[in-house]
């Protein structure tokens, strides 16, 4: 014990010495400002990633983006938003008819016209370019209303602005912005064209190609895209295509993805008929074909060869919007279920008195609470300029789409036969919801993305440590820091990261549970890295469980942060929020334990082998392998 304490002392001394050295070598732009900022913000070293989820993979708590719950709206932004809520709500209650849109398989003319007038298609375009100039948080609040009323319309709007022209907003140069943003704000539809018949989740494998013309003034685009939302309506499209690029190292010409702004009027752009779909029927989904489309070179978006980055950034940037919209959808489902449960009498009692129904309503409410909190936490962080939100955004998309499916399903279950009837309105919502687990990155791919990105980050820090050992004298701080952690673990003293001081005192118990699981999670990742090395990439049974554990850790932290805010503000709903955060965290931490156990225990690993074999058998047989018990 004494020895350990000494190590800590040394570590502390070394670290503070290092910090001073860092400060003194910091670029002297203006001595005072740099230092003042360093003190005020505790500015981290530049390579540090501020993502909470990312750091959980190292068993650490990076709290800046999660505690306290971000509040980013200025007084003026809040007032503007408040004024916008009523008219938006009124529009969806009085003008738009989701059932009519669903039956027509298009947004009714009057409604579509109204949406353009309302400004719903141009929420985030700067005001001087014809839009409303809303930030992400304001956007989230408005799409919550859309999601609560009509997910099909949500997709028409989202395909247009969340992905369709988002690339121009994020990567467009001045000329591109000035040329296109006013147009997409005043009646011309936009679309995001990435997916191809042979390229779904594997976006890097697209075949559409654009080759520079001989005079060097145009790229000539050829290929086809599939399942493009607004594909039949769009005049302005963000299209991804392979372009030949010279590799600066080898001098060889290779294909790299480039993003282009393509206008239908360029010529050679056609589209197929609207697809028949399970849900979101009022949105237009079509194939789009490009036949020798000449694209002026100035329409390259974000640089030649940078298309993959452009695509991923657009998608990452828009994901919180789905969480916001779906938290609205869940509100609608919960309202329907509760209206029913509080009026329906069976066995001489209102059914909301029964534990079975209570558990359903409680779980539905917690899922809605967590989703809503994630959406506004991410939008808040994005608004304050964070660049480290990609894992959180990916989780919010997966979580929201699965939560909404569950909530809608349980709402139907509570209502029984009534829930199954079309006029109750849940049937359409359920059909509309299904696609959310599939598009904009399937939840399966996003799970791998979260797990692998996190593991890679944790692995890099381990490699850094290995490097440090090669020159121990210069890296004492790093070595002692890591070494002391490991020593403490070895001697059986737990060293969970501190998190209790960040939450309201009523939630300290839950926070302690969370800290403990973050610690075990970090240790598990370390063991996995040691055991599998790079091979982990192919261990999807394990990666999925790592992702699920991450979801539970992140969602609990978000719930604790939101509830802490409510408690410290003493808001009317604080006690209710506290209950939800506590109940959620306990259940989530139990799931984390199970998931981590599955990853480490031989018996479960063996089961993965069994499942792999079962699948292989079924695939070889081309379906169910065994005959029925009658063998006839």
């Amino acid at each position: 014990m004494l020895k350990i304490a000494r190590i800590f002392q040394i570590v502390e001394r070394v670290q503070s010495a290092q910090l001073q050295r860092f400060l003194s070598t910091a670029p002297v732009l203006c001595g005072k400002t740099v230092q003042a900022r360093a003190v005020a913000e505790k500015k981290p070293a530049p390579e540090e990633d501020l993502s909470f989820v990312m750091n959980v993979f190292k068993g650490q708590v990076e709290s800046t983006q999660i505690f306290p719950f971000p509040k980013t709206l200025t007084e003026e932004q809040r007032e503007t938003l408040e004024m916008m809520i009523d008219p938006t709500q009124k529009f969806f209650e009085e003008v738009n008819d989701p059932d009519k849109n669903d039956a027509l398989e298009k947004v009714a003319d009057e409604s579509l016209k109204g949406l353009w007038e309302l400004g719903a298609f141009t929420l985030q375009v700067p005001q001087d370019l014809g839009g409303l100039g809303l930030n992400n948080t304001q956007y989230a609040r408005l799409v919550e209303i859309v999601g609560a009323n009509d997910l099909g319309v949500g997709i028409v709007l989202g395909a247009h602005q969340s992905i369709g022209f988002k690339g121009i907003l994020l990567f467009g140069n001045k000329e591109q912005k000035e040329k296109y943003l006013p147009r997409v704000s005043s009646g011309e539809f936009a679309a995001f064209c990435l997916t191809e018949p042979s390229s779904g989740s594997d976006a890097g494998s697209i075949k559409t190609r654009a080759v520079l013309s001989e005079d060097g003034k145009h790229y000539i685009l050829n290929g086809s895209k599939i399942w493009i939302s607004n594909g039949g309506l769009a005049e302005i499209m963000t299209v991804f295509a392979q372009t030949p690029v010279q590799d600066p190292k080898t001098g060889k010409t290779i294909d790299k993805v480039t993003a282009f702004i393509v206008e239908r009027s360029f010529g050679g752009v056609t589209n197929g008929p609207p697809e028949k779909k399970m849900g979101i029927k009022c949105s237009n989904t079509a194939e789009v074909y490009y036949d020798n489309v000449p694209i002026p070179v100035e329409n390259v978006l974000g640089g030649v060869g940078n298309g993959f980055k452009v695509a991923m950034n657009i998608l990452n940037n828009g994901r919180f919007g789905m969480a916001a919209a779906l938290s609205g959808t869940m509100k609608t489902c919960i309202k329907k279920a509760v209206d029913f449960a509080t009026q329906r009498t069976q066995f001489g009692q209102r059914i909301d008195n029964f534990g079975g129904i209570q558990e359903k309503i409680a779980k539905m409410s917690m899922l809605q609470y967590v989703t809503e909190s994630m959406a506004y936490m991410i939008s808040g962080n994005m608004d304050s300029g964070s660049k480290h939100y990609h894992l959180e955004a990916a989780i919010s998309k997966c979580f929201a789409s699965e939560a909404a499916w569950y909530v809608c399903d349980e709402a139907i279950q509570i209502m029984g036969g009534m829930g199954f009837m079309k006029h109750t309105g849940l049937e359409r919502i359920m059909r509309d919801l299904r696609i959310f687990r599939i598009f904009e990155g399937t939840n399966d791919i996003l799970r791998l993305f979260v797990a692998l990105t996190g593991i890679q980050y944790a692995g890099a820090s381990l490699r850094e440590l290995q490097q440090a050992f090669k020159n121990p004298a210069a890296n004492l701080g790093l070595i002692f820091g890591e070494a002391s952690k490991r020593v403490v673990r070895k001697v059986g003293l737990s060293s969970p990261p501190a998190i209790e001081h960040l939450v309201h005192r009523d939630l300290v118990g839950a926070a302690t549970m969370l800290a403990k699981e973050i610690d075990s999670f970090g240790q598990t990742i370390e063991m996995i890295l040691i055991k599998y090395g790079k091979g982990i990439v192919n261990e999807q049974f394990i990666l999925n469980r790592i992702a699920n554990a991450t979801f539970d850790i992140f969602s609990s932290a978000v719930a604790l942060s939101r509830a802490s805010m409510a408690l410290s503000e003493n808001s009317d709903t604080a006690t209710h929020e506290k209950l939800m955060a506590q109940a959620w965290t306990l259940e989530a931490m139990d799931r984390v334990k199970i998931n981590l156990q599955y990853i480490l225990r031989g018996q479960n690993l063996d089961n993965f082998q069994k499942m792999s074999a079962i699948s292989k058998n079924v695939c070889t047989a081309g379906g169910v392998v065994q005959l029925n018990p009658l063998k006839i």
Binding site: M83, D86, P87, F91, E117, L118, G119, L132, G133
Partner: protein
């Protein structure tokens, strides 16, 4: 073309369940959703339509009340009104402000702004007074056309269809005129989001009752505000004879 003045009052939203303050001196307003008085929305809509038909040249919206009254002026501006005037009245004073005070202030503004038509909601849904339009006309000594369900502007006059008991009355008034809007005059538009953004740049002038030469000191004292009596539970009676007997007993039938 006419210059039009509209009155916009900030009231507790129609959908809110009203609760009374513990001291019974008024209703709870803190943290309660407020909106523009629905009849005032109709007045604003009518004025905006006049402007769209090139009958009106400029529309001014006035609200008398505490700082939050500016919210409904902003809504009016987002619906298409050109400028706002906020008569700033401290919250405490606002509680005892009467239609007579408001009509004097509106009359002064109407004269200062040289308006030709004043359109007000026929009543506010909070105090249900239905007095301000009539009093404003009286203070100005202008003709009045209350409870309008249709307004047609002529060259120097307006023809107004009024909703009266048992039918409609059509009257013609010389300009300038004070009109009060009834429910069926029009269906007000909702403000679009781009217009809400534009409204932020439109001017709101702030004045005090003193600037308008109106003494808003309380003339009344609120003695008590009570909830409507709670409905008592009903009973099921066996037959018509009992029903008749009960009705007679209660004095409901002779």
């Amino acid at each position: 073309m006419a210059r039009v003045l509209v009155g916009v009052k900030r009231v507790i939203d129609y959908a809110v369940k009203i609760r009374i303050k513990p001291d019974k001196k008024g209703v709870l307003t803190d943290g309660v959703k407020h909106s523009m008085n629905p009849f005032d929305e109709i007045a604003v809509e009518e004025a905006v339509r006049m402007k769209e038909k090139k009958i009106a040249s400029e529309i001014i919206a006035v609200s008398c009340g505490p700082a939050q009254a500016q919210d409904v002026i902003r809504t009016a501006l987002a619906m298409g009104v050109d400028k706002g005037i906020h008569v700033d009245i401290p919250a405490k004073e606002f509680e005892t402000l009467q239609p007579l005070h408001v009509s004097k202030m509106l009359a002064k503004i109407a004269q200062d702004e040289k308006v030709d038509i004043v359109i007000l909601g026929k009543q506010a849904i909070d105090d249900d007074c239905n007095q301000t339009a009539q009093m404003t006309a009286a203070v100005l000594d202008w003709p009045q056309a209350t409870n309008a369900s249709k307004i047609e502007k002529g060259d120097k006059d307006v023809t107004v269809t009024r909703e009266i008991d048992g039918g409609l009355e059509v009257i013609k008034c010389k300009l300038p005129v004070v009109i009060s809007a009834d429910l069926r005059l029009n269906e007000p538009r909702y403000a679009t989001l781009p217009n809400i953004m534009k409204a932020k740049k439109k001017p709101i002038k702030k004045v005090t009752p003193k600037d308008l030469g109106v003494d808003t000191a309380a003339r009344i004292e609120i003695v008590s505000v009570e909830e409507p009596p709670v409905r008592k539970g009903g009973t099921i009676i066996p037959d018509v004879d009992t029903l008749v007997a009960k009705l007679k007993e209660g004095g409901f039938v002779p």
